[in-house]
C-alpha cells in the first residue's frame, strides 16, 4: 500500500477524467487539492463529511439536455457529425465507418477497452486509409503524478487521411457564432487532455504524435435550436499549460514528506473533526474562484475566515494590500496600532494614508 492509499483509506480511488485533470490547472498552487486528487480521495464525500458540502451541482434538466444532444449528434451513424465535419474541416468524406469502444464484446473492463482502443487507432494510423473513421468512447491512459489513470472518454476521435481530430460534443449553445467564454475555455482544457493522451499513445506506439491535430472540433447546439453546429478550437495554449502541470505533479512527494506520520482522510474510521484536522495539515491556497470549481471550497473558505486571512477578499484585493496575510494586520497597520516590520514599512504608510483620507471622506 502506498502512502497515498493510506491517506485515502479502504475506499476505492476516484478515477481521474479529463475534467479532473483539466481542473489541475484551475488552482495549481493548492497543495491540498493536489494531494486529495493524487490520492483519489472523493472530495465531494469528504466535504459533506466535514459539514461543508460542495456549493454546486448539476441540474437534471442540464443532464437530460446534454444526453439528448449527444444522442442527436450521434444518431444514424453520426450523420449530423459527418455533415458538420465536411463543412467545418472542409473535407470531402464520401463515407465513414463508426466504431464504438464503450465496451468490447460486452466487456467494459478498462484494460480490455484500452487495448482495443490502441489496436484500432494504430491500425487506422498505419493503414493510411483515406476514408474517415470515427472512434467513439476511446479509452485512453495517462500518467498523472506517477500513476497511470484511465480517461473516461466523452469524445470521439476522428481520423481522416492519417490525421486525427478530437471531437468534443457539448450542450451549451453557440449563439450568433459565440458561446460562453468560460464554458468554451473549460471545453478547451478538457479537449487538450485528450489530445495530450492521444499523442502519448501515438508516441508509445512509435507513431508520429504530430498527426493528432491541435484543432479540436467543438460540436454545440446552434442558436436556440437543438440543431448542432461545429467550430474548430485551437487548444495549443491549453496543451502547453497541461503539459507543464503534469510535469510538476511530482511535487506530491514533497507534500507527502511534510505530512505528519500516520495521518489519514479515511471517512469510515475518522470523525468529521478528525478528518478536518487531518485535511488542515495540508496547506490550501483558497481563492473565491474555488467556490465555482472545487468541492472542498466551503471548508477552505471557513478555514480562511477563521484565520482572518485576506484571501477571503479575493486575489486582486490581496495583491492591492501588498500581500499582507491577515485582515487584522491590514487594519492594525492602517490605524497605527501594530508596528510595521521593516518589510511592511511601505504598505503601512500607504494604509495609513488610505485610512486617513477614507475616514475624512466618510465623515
Amino acid at each position: 500500500m502506498t502512502r497515498l492509499d493510506t491517506l485515502r483509506g479502504p475506499a476505492e480511488p476516484l478515477d481521474h477524467n479529463a475534467r479532473t485533470i483539466a481542473a489541475l490547472a484551475v488552482n495549481p498552487g493548492c497543495d491540498r487539492r493536489a494531494l486529495l486528487d493524487a490520492a483519489g480521495v472523493d472530495k465531494q464525500r469528504t466535504a459533506t463529511h466535514l459539514g461543508f458540502p460542495a456549493p454546486f451541482g448539476q441540474s437534471p434538466f442540464a443532464i437530460t439536455r446534454a444526453k439528448s444532444f449527444d444522442a442527436l449528434v450521434k444518431a444514424n451513424g453520426c450523420a449530423h457529425l459527418l455533415r458538420l465535419l465536411r463543412s467545418t474541416l472542409d473535407l470531402s468524406i464520401s463515407e465513414a465507418s463508426y466504431s464504438d469502444i464503450s465496451d468490447v464484446g460486452g466487456n467494459d473492463d478498462h484494460q480490455v477497452r484500452h487495448t482495443r482502443t490502441r489496436a484500432l487507432l494504430k491500425r487506422a494510423a498505419t493503414d493510411g486509409d483515406g476514408a474517415g473513421t470515427l472512434f467513439d468512447h476511446p479509452l485512453l491512459k495517462l500518467t498523472v503524478a506517477g500513476h497511470e489513470v484511465y480517461l473516461e472518454p466523452a469524445v470521439i476521435a476522428f481520423q481522416i487521411e492519417g490525421r486525427f481530430h478530437i471531437v468534443e460534443i457539448k450542450s451549451f449553445a453557440v449563439i450568433d457564432d459565440q458561446a460562453d467564454a468560460g464554458q468554451v475555455a473549460a471545453a478547451a482544457r478538457q479537449s487538450a487532455v485528450y489530445v495530450h493522451a492521444l499523442r502519448a499513445l501515438f508516441t508509445a506506439e512509435g507513431l508520429d504524435p504530430g498527426r493528432i491535430s491541435h484543432n479540436v472540433v467543438l460540436v454545440c447546439p446552434k442558436d436556440f435550436a437543438n440543431h448542432p453546429t461545429a467550430t474548430l478550437l485551437d487548444v495549443r495554449q491549453q496543451l502547453a499549460a497541461l503539459e507543464r502541470q503534469l510535469s510538476r505533479l511530482t511535487r506530491i512527494d514533497r507534500i507527502l514528506d511534510e505530512l505528519p506520520i500516520g495521518i489519514t482522510f479515511d471517512l469510515e474510521t475518522q470523525s468529521p473533526d478528525e478528518v478536518g484536522k487531518a485535511v488542515a495539515t495540508v496547506g490550501a491556497r483558497f481563492a473565491p474562484e474555488c467556490l465555482a470549481s472545487c468541492e472542498m471550497s466551503l471548508f477552505c473558505r471557513a478555514e480562511a475566515r477563521d484565520r482572518e486571512s485576506t484571501d477571503v477578499l479575493g486575489r486582486a484585493a490581496r495583491d492591492e494590500l501588498g500581500g499582507i496575510e491577515s485582515i487584522p494586520a491590514v487594519l492594525g497597520l492602517a490605524d497605527d496600532s501594530r508596528p510595521p516590520s521593516p518589510e511592511q514599512l511601505e504598505i503601512a504608510e500607504q494604509l495609513r494614508y488610505v485610512r486617513r483620507i477614507y475616514t475624512e471622506a466618510v465623515a
Binding site: D176, L313, E320, I327, L351, Y353, A361, V362
Partner: protein, 486 residues
C-alpha cells in the same frame, strides 16, 4: 479595485458590516422602476421558465412556462411579459418635454428603468430580446404581435446596459457594489442575498452571520436566471410532470413562486437602500442621455424600424466602441467629481490630489504656444499631502469648475503649481472667482468629464477594402423569423 476598496473590505470584515465606498447615489432611480426577475431552464440557452415582474412591491406578477420545452408556451410567456412591459414602456414614451438647444427638440420626460438582480439577468434579457425580435406575426410560426416589439425593447435596454452610467437596465448587485464594500470577495458580491446580508443584516445578526444564512438555498434561492440544481431535481421536475399529466400549472406556479419571492423582497430592499442615498450631481444629465436614446428608439420603432441585426458591421462597431469609451471616460470622471469617496481612488493612484491653495499669481500673462499675443495664464500653488504622480504638462480638471482647462507646471515636494488656461472671462486679468484664492481647498484630477470626441468614420456603405468593403445592409429574413426555439 484599488487599495481603497480593498481596505474598505477589510474594514467591513472587522466591523461585521459593509462599508460605504460612495457618499452619493451614482445611478438614476426611477420613481417607478420595473423590477424584473427572470428564470431560465437549466441546460438551455434561453428557455424562459418564469419571471416575477412589476412596479409595485406589494403586487408582483408571476409569469411561468409550465413546460419550458414547449415552444408555444414560451411564446405565450413572452406575450404575457409584453402585457406587463409594453404598457409601462410605451406609456412613458407618451409624455415629452421640449429641450432648449440650438435646435430645440422633444424628449421623453421619463424613460423605462428595468432592475434585474445581477449581470446574469442582463445577459438573459439580451438573449430574450435576441430570440424574439426577429419573430413575425404571420407566416409559418406566427407569434402574438406584441412579441417582436418586446424583443426590440429588450434588445434596446440590454444594449443601453453596455454604456457606463446608463440606468436603463441595471443589475442590482452591480448597483449595490458601486456604493458598498462588503467583507466578502467581489465575486461573491454577485450573490444578491449575501451582498445585502453584509449591507443590511437583519436584527440580531452581523454581516458574516447573515451572509452564511443567506447562502442557504432553502432560505435564499438563487436570484436567477439559473435555478438551484436541487430545486430542479427535487421540486421542479415533478411539478412539470404534474402539469403534463393534469394540465394544471398550479404546482409549477407555486414552486417557482417560492423561488422568486425571496429575491423580489431583496430587490426592493436594494431599491430602498439606494434611495436613501442622495442623488449625485451628474446623475440627472446621464439619465437625460437615457431619455434621449429612449426617445430616438421610440421614433425608430414608430417608423417601422427593423430589428437590429445579429452583429455589428465594421463601421457601426467602431462607432459604438468610440461611444462606449466616451461614456466610460465621462462616467468615471463625473463620478469622481461628484463624490469625494470615489475621488480617493484617483488620489491614491496619484492621478488626483487635494489640498489648500497657498499662493496665486493671478496677473501672470504669457504668450501661449502657437499664439502671438500675451494672454492671462495665472499660476496657482497648492500644498498637498497626496502622493501626486503627474508630470508637468498634464492637463487637469478641478471639481470647482469642470470645464476649466488647467495644466501642471511644476511639482516640488508637496507643492504643485498649476496654470489656468481658460474660463477667466475676456478681460486682461481673470474675472473674479474664475481662479482659486489662497486658502481655498481644491481638488484637481487628470480626468475628463467631457468624454472626448468621436473620430470621423466613413458611412457603413463606404466601408473600405481594409475592413471587408461595404456590408450587405441587414434586412430581416424569413429564416430569422422562423428560427427554431427548442
Amino acid at each position: 479595485m484599488s487599495i481603497m476598496s480593498s481596505y474598505a473590505r477589510a474594514l467591513a470584515v472587522q466591523n461585521g458590516r459593509a462599508q460605504p465606498v460612495a457618499t452619493v447615489r451614482h445611478l438614476h432611480l426611477s420613481a417607478t422602476p420595473m423590477v424584473f426577475i427572470p428564470l431560465k431552464l437549466a441546460g438551455e440557452a434561453a428557455a424562459p421558465l418564469a419571471a416575477l415582474v412589476g412596479t409595485d412591491p406589494a403586487n408582483p406578477r408571476l409569469l411561468v412556462v409550465p413546460q419550458p420545452r414547449n415552444r408555444d408556451l414560451r411564446f405565450a410567456f413572452m406575450a404575457e411579459l409584453a402585457e406587463v412591459l409594453l404598457p409601462y414602456i410605451e406609456g412613458l414614451a407618451g409624455v415629452t418635454e421640449t429641450v432648449e438647444a440650438k435646435t430645440p427638440y422633444e424628449r421623453c420626460a421619463d424613460a423605462p428603468q428595468l432592475l434585474v438582480p445581477n449581470r446574469g439577468g442582463i445577459a438573459f434579457t439580451k438573449l430574450l430580446g435576441r430570440s424574439t425580435r426577429f419573430r413575425r406575426t404571420d407566416g409559418p410560426y406566427p407569434v402574438h404581435p406584441s412579441v417582436p416589439v418586446l424583443g426590440q425593447w429588450l434588445t434596446f435596454l440590454s444594449e443601453r446596459a453596455e454604456y457606463a452610467g446608463s440606468s436603463a437596465l441595471v443589475s442590482m448587485t452591480d448597483a449595490l457594489a458601486l456604493h458598498w464594500a462588503t467583507g466578502q470577495s467581489s465575486m461573491e458580491d454577485a450573490n444578491l442575498a449575501t451582498q445585502l446580508a453584509w449591507i443590511a443584516p437583519p436584527e440580531g445578526l452581523d454581516g458574516p452571520e447573515a451572509a452564511l444564512v443567506a447562502e442557504d438555498p432553502l432560505t435564499s434561492p438563487p436570484a436567477g436566471p439559473e435555478t438551484h440544481p436541487d430545486f430542479d431535481g427535487q421540486v421542479l421536475e415533478y411539478a412539470i410532470q404534474a402539469f403534463e399529466t393534469s394540465g394544471s400549472a398550479a404546482q409549477v406556479r407555486e414552486a417557482l413562486r417560492s423561488q422568486l419571492e425571496p429575491t423580489w423582497t431583496l430587490m426592493w430592499q436594494g431599491v430602498r437602500l439606494l434611495r436613501e442615498l442622495p442623488e449625485a450631481a451628474t446623475v440627472e444629465a446621464r439619465w437625460a442621455r437615457d431619455r434621449d436614446q429612449f426617445t430616438r428608439e421610440t421614433a425608430r420603432l414608430a417608423e417601422g424600424g427593423f430589428p437590429r441585426g445579429r452583429v455589428d458591421g465594421a463601421v457601426s462597431a467602431a462607432i459604438r466602441l468610440a461611444d462606449l469609451e466616451s461614456a466610460l471616460q465621462a462616467y468615471e470622471a463625473q463620478r469622481a467629481f461628484d463624490d469625494p469617496l470615489v475621488m480617493i481612488e484617483h488620489r491614491v493612484a496619484g492621478k488626483a490630489f487635494s489640498g489648500e491653495v497657498v499662493a496665486v499669481d493671478a496677473t501672470r500673462r504669457i504668450v501661449p504656444a502657437g499664439k502671438t499675443r500675451a494672454a492671462p495664464r495665472p499660476l496657482v500653488t497648492i500644498r498637498t499631502s497626496d502622493p501626486v504622480r503627474l508630470s508637468p504638462g498634464r492637463r487637469l480638471v478641478s471639481s470647482r469648475n469642470r470645464k476649466q482647462r488647467t495644466e501642471i507646471v511644476d511639482i516640488t515636494g508637496d507643492l504643485v503649481v498649476i496654470q489656468v488656461n481658460d474660463q477667466m472671462g475676456r478681460g486682461a486679468t481673470p474675472a473674479p472667482g474664475s481662479v482659486p484664492e489662497v486658502g481655498d481647498v481644491v481638488c484637481y484630477a487628470e480626468l475628463d468629464p467631457s468624454g472626448g470626441q468621436r473620430p470621423r468614420l466613413p458611412a457603413g456603405e463606404d466601408t473600405p477594402w481594409t475592413h471587408g468593403g461595404p456590408p450587405e445592409p441587414y434586412v430581416p429574413t424569413d429564416e430569422d423569423a422562423q428560427e427554431a426555439w427548442s
